[in-house]
């Protein structure tokens, strides 16, 4: 399988949020009017104008305390369930770039039922503009990538947490790093690497970072097309539970 892939090594992420800001800058997306809600995570969640958010989670206490960071974004599934769900409703509302594998939401997404599209996503990524009903998410900076540049978030990452390139090279890098990390972190996971083009390597159990960092094994996910169809057909609520 060819195309592009991100490898995100969470053991190197310092939550500097350079990626979050770079995403907004490249896309020229407006800032949200935020408040401090008792957390540094801001905006509190992804939105139509916030395609990438660095999630921060505090786990445990005192000597086994961990502060976990997750630069959350669309995983660009190899076989995207959102597209499967959309294709039968509005053709080409969600496209997939043949060369890069980027999954792209078009203006036509305004004709799709939002709950179906969001529900189809095992990672809870799609968001909708309440005014226009157009849906949005990360598009892999496909404009940059097609022009030979790195996605804005990868370009700005100072620590080597965000990596991007040809899929086989990224998977090789990911597996090598995973093998090394397992020596010190036996619960490290290379999350859903066969199914997605944004491969996260965790230091700890994925659920500790965020409920939808990893697709639920027994729910809607990119695992099979059947599972994706199940989601469209109504199992999504349990999946999100």
């Amino acid at each position: 399988m060819s195309g592009k892939t991100f490898f995100v090594d969470l053991s190197r992420c310092t939550a500097c949020r350079g990626c979050q800001i770079a995403c907004k800058q490249w896309k020229q997306l407006p800032a949200e009017q935020t408040k401090n809600t008792g957390s540094h995570q801001n905006p509190p969640d992804m939105s139509f104008v916030t395609l990438k958010v660095v999630r921060m989670k505090e786990v445990g206490s005192r000597d086994d305390f961990k502060w976990l960071f997750l630069p959350d974004q669309c995983r660009h599934c190899v076989e995207p369930p959102c597209k499967d769900a959309a294709d039968s409703i509005v053709k080409d509302a969600i496209t997939q770039d043949k060369a890069t594998g980027a999954v792209v939401f078009t203006e036509k997404t305004k004709g799709l039922p939002f709950d179906v599209v969001r529900g189809a996503c095992p990672y809870d990524i799609p968001r909708q503009d309440p005014a226009t009903k157009v849906m949005s998410k990360c598009d892999m900076c496909n404009d940059r990538v097609t022009a030979g540049m790195l996605p804005a978030c990868v370009k700005t990452c100072p620590t080597g947490a965000m990596n991007f390139g040809e899929r086989d090279e990224m998977l090789a890098m990911a597996k090598k790093r995973f093998e090394a990390l397992k020596q010190t972190n036996p619960k490290a996971v290379l999350v859903d690497w066969e199914q997605v083009r944004v491969v996260f390597l965790t230091e700890h159990e994925p659920r500790l970072y965020h409920a939808t960092l990893m697709a639920d094994a027994d729910s809607a996910g990119p695992v099979t097309r059947f599972a994706a169809l199940d989601a469209v057909l109504g199992l999504r609520n349990q999946a999100r539970g």
Binding site: R12, T14, A15, C16, R17, G18, Q20, I21, K24, Q25, P30, A31, E32, Q33, T34, K35, N36, T37, G38, S39, H40, N42, P43, E58, G60, S61, R62, F65, K66, W67, F69, P158, T159, G160
Partner: protein, 800 residues
Amino acid sequence: MTNHWIDLKNSDCIFVIGSNPAENHPISFKWIMRAKDAGGKLICVDPRFTKTAGKADFYAPIRSGSDIAFFGGFISYILANDLMFKDYVVNYTNASFIVGDAYDFKDGMFSGYNAEKKAYDKSKWAFAKDEAGIVKKDPSLQNPRCVYQLMKKHYERYTLKAVSDITGCAQDKLEQCYKLYGATGAPEKTGTMLYAMGQTQHTVGVQNIRAMSIIQLLLGNIGVAGGGINALRGEANVQGSTDQGLLFHILPGYVPTPAASMQELKTYNEKNTPVSKDPKSINWWGNRPKYLASYLKAIYPKQKPEDAYKWLPKVEDGKDYSWLTLFDEMYKGAFKGFFAWGQNPAASTANCGKVREAMTKLDWMVTVNIFDTETASFWKGPGMDPKKIKTEVFFLPCCVSIEKEGSISNSGRWMQWRYPGPAPLGGTKPDGDLIYELFEKIKGLYAKDKKAVFPDPIVNLNWDIATNHVFDPHKVAKLINGYFLSEKTIGDKTYKAGDPVPSFALLQDDGSTCSGNWIYAGSYTDKNMAARRDKTQTPMQEKIGLYPGWTWCWPVNRRIIYNRASVDPQGKPYQPTKPVIEWQDGKWVGDVPDGPWPPMADEKGKYAFIMTTEGFAQLYGPGRNDGPFPEHYEPMECPIPEHPFSKVLNNPTALKFTGNREGHASCDPRFPFICSTYRVTEHWQTGVMTRWTPWLLEAEPQMFVEMSPELAALRGIKGGDKCTVESARGSLWAIAIVTERMRPMQVMGQTVHMVGIPWHFGWVYPKDGGDSANLLTASVGDPNTGIPETKAFMVNVKKA
């Protein structure tokens, strides 16, 4: 930095204390991660669990303001367990020096204290010298009056128990930490210490850094790759501005400012030129007269240095002109006018409520910035009645850094040339043009006015810094480098007038050379060295990522200073896998060595630390105002009435002020919690640039106060609640962040809570962002630098 950013990757152990590089120096983590990839360890010691702590192999919390106790325990541990790199310590540090009889230390006080002046007579701390005037030494380190033995005795009091009691850090944690980093004392290992304002902004700030230096020297970690004592600078060009003489006590290139008692250049040179009688000591500052003469010729090219010297402003002997003192004088009405150039003191200065009031005493203020600030608009700020304020404020908008050409010098001392990006918006000008035009006008007024007072220094000042009336950074850079003013033959080479000075070694004291800043001599010679972007390295340089062709580094493109200490007395690197320099076939290879002389064991060899008078690094430092050894004193505001090391609670020489704006509250039940200020990645300094950048404000929109779940429970506060934080000087609101990253500590048998606040916010913008943390901080400072103690002071927190 003694080293540089890339060099962090060479470290076996990175010790972060008083800084939070993951948050505040994000790029540093590129190199820290590479050190970890190669098996290096990362230690983080900080009162709160920071983003850096989150990536650390080992984290230990200590109470803010207890660093010297922590380090003192560390020094004691190194000496007791013999972890030091003995050859290095004997060869390169003053451990073997015999201290004179007048030095003494009793119950928290060094000898020579004058209670009336609140100052020490430092002559009491001098070394013992032989008949030839050379310091007496005992390389066996057995003499009870040698530095090593005095140091051992001094720090014996810092037992694990006492240090644990005062820092709040468990004894086993302390021991693990000391052991882990102490392992870098092995000759082939190196460790680096990274610090920032968490170390400096204390009334013992300088001694905090001294304590770290002592540890680094004992472990043989100075001058080596992956080692050093590394200040992570808080602004892109703060290193450069310090180099260029921003502070009151120095001229460019760390040449002391003349004092009123030194009316003649000859007197100045006598008092400021150290002399060594030891032929093996280079005593580089013995060249100081050449650097001052060349500086004087840079600013007054037509005058003889001795005449130009008379025009230099002189400071009153012993008088402090540092930041807090300036604003104290302003508060007392001493100034008519004030230029706030690229700064925001109404938010950035400790006890800034006092500063805001001080500004009402001015007749005029000029402020130069890219956005409105709390300083520019102080007259309409909270509690101000514009009708009653006489100060006339002028706002000069300037262009931003990326719109102009020039250089910045980063933490690693690299002078990096930058080309202009987009054209300045809205007709704004670079600061260089603003100051050029301003002084042209002043010069003209003085030249015209027959009654002008003392016009010579002004009308004669070299103002050839523009081309066609536009500020020319190349002209300034060439002047800073320096050039010959008349024909001069040095050795077998003759230089013509106008030839650039190739290096500071060629600067003269006879007026034949000029150089605006001797340490930058060599930066702009036949070409602009700072503009270089050459990645070529020799295989030896490649081992440590030296990149000597990338930009230019002061001094003389030396990337790791004190590098003569990275080799043994025969010139062989102590760390063969990461050599900095090596003596091969009668010459040095690798980095630019600290001087061309052969290795120390050679008969023509010289001592390694060429910038000290005696040639040795100073474990014992008799030049500081508060003692030759760091000693623990509590912050001026502290939660405990006594500590285990002496009966002297606070630094007896700290900079203090009196008056009705100087509230103070130690062990005061009204202000029971320790508070510290810090930064977040998204904002910079007082937030003047970043608060107006919507994407950054979106990520960190409001003033917050971080506290432990225990303290939140005590005060009935929940995360997201609006709280009031108040000190003896002021009050502000902040949103509570309740987090396990903060924890109560057991200090001297009592539970001590700590809170933390960022200092990025201000009332001007955004409207619901909150105000400056410095409304709460105290105007008390370090006795050497005057830096304010904003990292440890006492507050109360309650639900608003």
